[in-house]
Amino acid sequence: MADRGTVPLRLHQLPDQCWATVSDVMVPPNGADRDLVLRLVELGFVPGERVRIVAEGFHGREPMAVRVGHTTFALRRHEASFILVEPHP
């Protein structure tokens, strides 16, 4: 993981409606999660892309709707946790 400077948040920790930039995507060794992360990268969760949480469930922030590029995706917290982001000031 190449963290430069500030400590990035994981996407599921990003506050509601706050813009951030994807800094990295963690690649797990495990099979099913690896497939999931590959799909996240294919869908556009790549370093440099701007993301924002646009909606979340009323209890425990589950699930969350994440805007990336021109698309919104519904993710579980577990799914969002693989994406590292740097919040915009």
Binding site: V25, V27, A32, R34, D35, L36, V37, L38, R39, L40, V41, E42, L43, G44, V46, G48, V54, A55, E56, G57, F58, H59, G60, E62, P63, A65, R67, G69, H70, T71, T72, F73, A74, L75, R76, H78, E79
Partner: protein, 616 residues
């Protein structure tokens, strides 16, 4: 194989879900479509024919939507296998990669992946009208240069939006090259994404402020409180329409069949054959046809909501409550369809990638009150509360709610009994809102009507004829007394069934009527009518039957039969569909077994308890 340049005779449409691919397919092929399954899998295969401006006929295959050829779902696996030559399908002469012009950032990656397949490729830049409206300008020429393949703009709404693509099909394409495609690892996908970004920045100009209203709409639609309220209102309007407009149209269908029956009755001589045609065939088909308006109205709402992009939001809102029961929001759409009919509902579970989630959804789909239950509910409720519409409505809502609550409980038990507690995934696109495409809506409704009518024409018709025969043929054992029905073969069967059904309060008449009802619950009402040996049109049977039920059945029997209809596995087609979709006899029998047990138990408790309380 020749290396010569030729005109494409078979093309395939490839693209992400939500790129407007199916709307484009409908525009290209119109009603010249064939829907079937791919060999060996339950993935829908849609093929059609189009005529090019030069008059050549071209076969079009609408591949299942795929985000990537690194397949995660059955749909994606089929798409990958077809275009990499790992299936029994012939490779297409030309691949049309459909991309959403308003979302090239996401969709271009598939084009780059498809370039490696060696199949001649053309990009259909779809939804160009919408891109213009949103102020997005795309340098089409430059995009084609960067990609190294032709790009044609298309608009799938309207009538002439595919002209550029059709013209392109009259041009010769080069022969297929060899494929260099292989499943990509994460590093390679990242590199591809950098390439996508480079091309995107060089060819697409976007306004500084995003003009897509979706995000603003979603502030309400996906709000944890207002969103659920809106969802509640939408579902309320849907079901009220099903009952009010559907009920009104149903009257006309009944009238038409009564008229047809009368016409045939007048034209034929009295006898066995006339009985078969009028009571068996016309009466039986009419008794089932009456559901068509209600099914189509429910599907009209479901298809329109799906096409508009709303349904995934509803799934999002319900994900958390449904996950408590061990399901995910993805189960919402199949379960909603099951209120029309469990068969398309079970088929719609194909979009659920997690097998356990999918199996649970299939198992509980028959508990959603499908439209075939409505007439039985209506008949008994009307006999319970004559002239009390408020109580009748409340009981009807209660029966629907009972089905839903039981389904959630069954899902919860299934989740509890799982050995492993794997995480189920949600990962689902929430596409931009758009107006539903009327052409796709009509074609979608037509497909569903045909599924239903095929059922009427086969299973239900056969059942009705067999039942009519059982009622008509006298039993070999001679009885000195009794009505003709009691002396028929059906009467014998009903008598034998008393051993099973007497403890839950069903008399011989009900037992007989439930026999064909086991295979299709639609026919319960018309069978009851036949059993009570009445003549005349459907309407008359309805009202007389209701009066007799009100006076002859005890309260316990009425309530018991209502609960029986809520739970009992009374649909042969559902059994067949479960067997096909799970590819397993075991799951089919488990479903039938647990539903039968639930039904018997619920009816037994209700009947015995009601009798105990009314006696006290």
């Amino acid at each position: 194989m020749t290396q010569a340049v030729h005109h494409p005779g078979r093309i395939a449409l490839l693209g992400n879900p939500n790129c407007g691919k199916t709307a484009l397919f409908n525009l290209l092929t119109g009603s010249r479509q064939k829907v079937a399954n791919y060999a060996g899998v339950t993935v829908e295969r849609k093929e059609g024919t189009l005529r090019t401006p030069a008059g050549r006929s071209v076969k079009v295959l609408d591949l299942p939507g795929a985000y990537s050829l690194n397949a995660l779902s059955n749909d994606e696996a089929v798409t990958r296998d077809v275009i990499t030559g790992h299936s029994s399908e012939a490779l297409p002469d030309l691949l049309v990669c459909v991309v959403d012009a308003t979302n090239l950032r996401l969709h271009l990656r598939m084009v780059l992946e498809a370039r490696r397949l060696g199949i001649p490729l053309v990009v259909a830049l779809n939804k160009m009208d919408r891109a213009e409206k949103l102020g997005i300008t795309i340098d089409v020429k430059s995009l084609a240069q960067h990609l190294g393949i032709p790009v044609v703009p298309t608009v799938s709404i309207g009538t002439r939006g595919a002209r550029a693509l059709e013209d392109h099909l009259d041009r010769p394409v080069p022969a297929r090259g060899s494929s260099t495609w292989a499943a990509q690892g994460i590093e390679e996908v990242r590199q591809t994404q950098q390439e996508v970004l480079r091309i995107f920045r060089a060819t697409v100009k976007e306004p500084a402020v995003d003009a897509d209203p979706s995000e603003r709409i979603d502030r309400i639609m996906m709000h944890p409180f207002w969103g659920l309220l809106v969802l509640g209102i939408i579902l309320f309007v849907t079901f009220v329409s099903v009952f009010s407009i559907g009920g009104w149209l149903t009257g006309y269908v009944e009238g038409a069949f009564a008229w047809l029956g009368g016409l045939v009755e007048g034209a034929m001589e009295d006898g066995l054959l006339r009985g078969l045609v009028v009571e068996g065939i016309i009466g039986g088909a009419g008794g089932v046809f009456v559901f068509l308006p209600q099914i189509l109205i429910l599907f009209f709402f479901i298809l329109a909501l799906e096409d508009s992009g709303y349904l995934p939001r509803a799934a999002f809102l319900l994900d958390k409550p449904m996950s408590r029961a061990g399901l995910s929001g993805r189960s919402f759409i199949p379960l909603l369809s099951s209120f029309a009919c469990a068969i398309p509902g079970i088929m719609a579970t194909r979009t659920i990638t997690n097998w356990r989630d999918r199996l649970t959804t299939i198992m509980i789909a028959p508990l959603m009150a499908c439209s075939a239950r409505i007439p039985v509910y209506t008949l008994i409720i009307a006999a319970l509360f004559p002239g009390q519409p408020l109580l009748a409505t409340l009981l009807m809502i209660g029966l629907y709610a009972l089905g839903i609550v039981s389904a959630m409980s069954v899902a919860w038990v299934m989740k509890r009994s799982r050995a492993t507690h794997e995480r189920s995934s949600l990962l689902m696109e929430l596409p931009s809102y758009q107006w539903p495409d009327p052409r796709s809506l009509i074609i979608g409704l037509w497909e569903r009507a045909m599924i239903f009518l095929r059922r009427v024409g086969t299973i239900i018709l056969a059942l009705t004829i067999i039942m009519w025969a059982l009622y008509t043929i006298p039993s070999p054992r001679t009885h000195a007394q009794g009505t003709p029905i009691e002396r028929s073969l059906a009467g014998e069967i009903g008598h034998a069934l008393q051993y099973v059904f007497a403890p839950i309060g069903f008399n011989e008449h009900i037992s007989i009527a439930l026999v064909p009802g086991m295979a299709a619950r639609e026919v319960v009402v018309s069978s009851l009518g036949m059993v009570y040996a009445m003549e005349g049109d459907e309407d008359e049977v309805g009202s007389q039957l209701q009066a007799r039920i009100a006076t002859e059945w005890s309260l316990g029997t009425k309530l018991s039969l209502l609960l029986w209809i809520v739970f009992a596995p009374q649909c042969l087609s559902t059994f067949v569909t479960v067997k096909r979709e799970t590819n397993s006899w075991k799951y089919m029998w488990i479903m039938g077994g647990y539903l039968f047990a639930l039904a018997y138990l619920a009816s037994l408790v209700t009947y015995q308890l009601t009798n105990f309380l009314t006696a006290a």
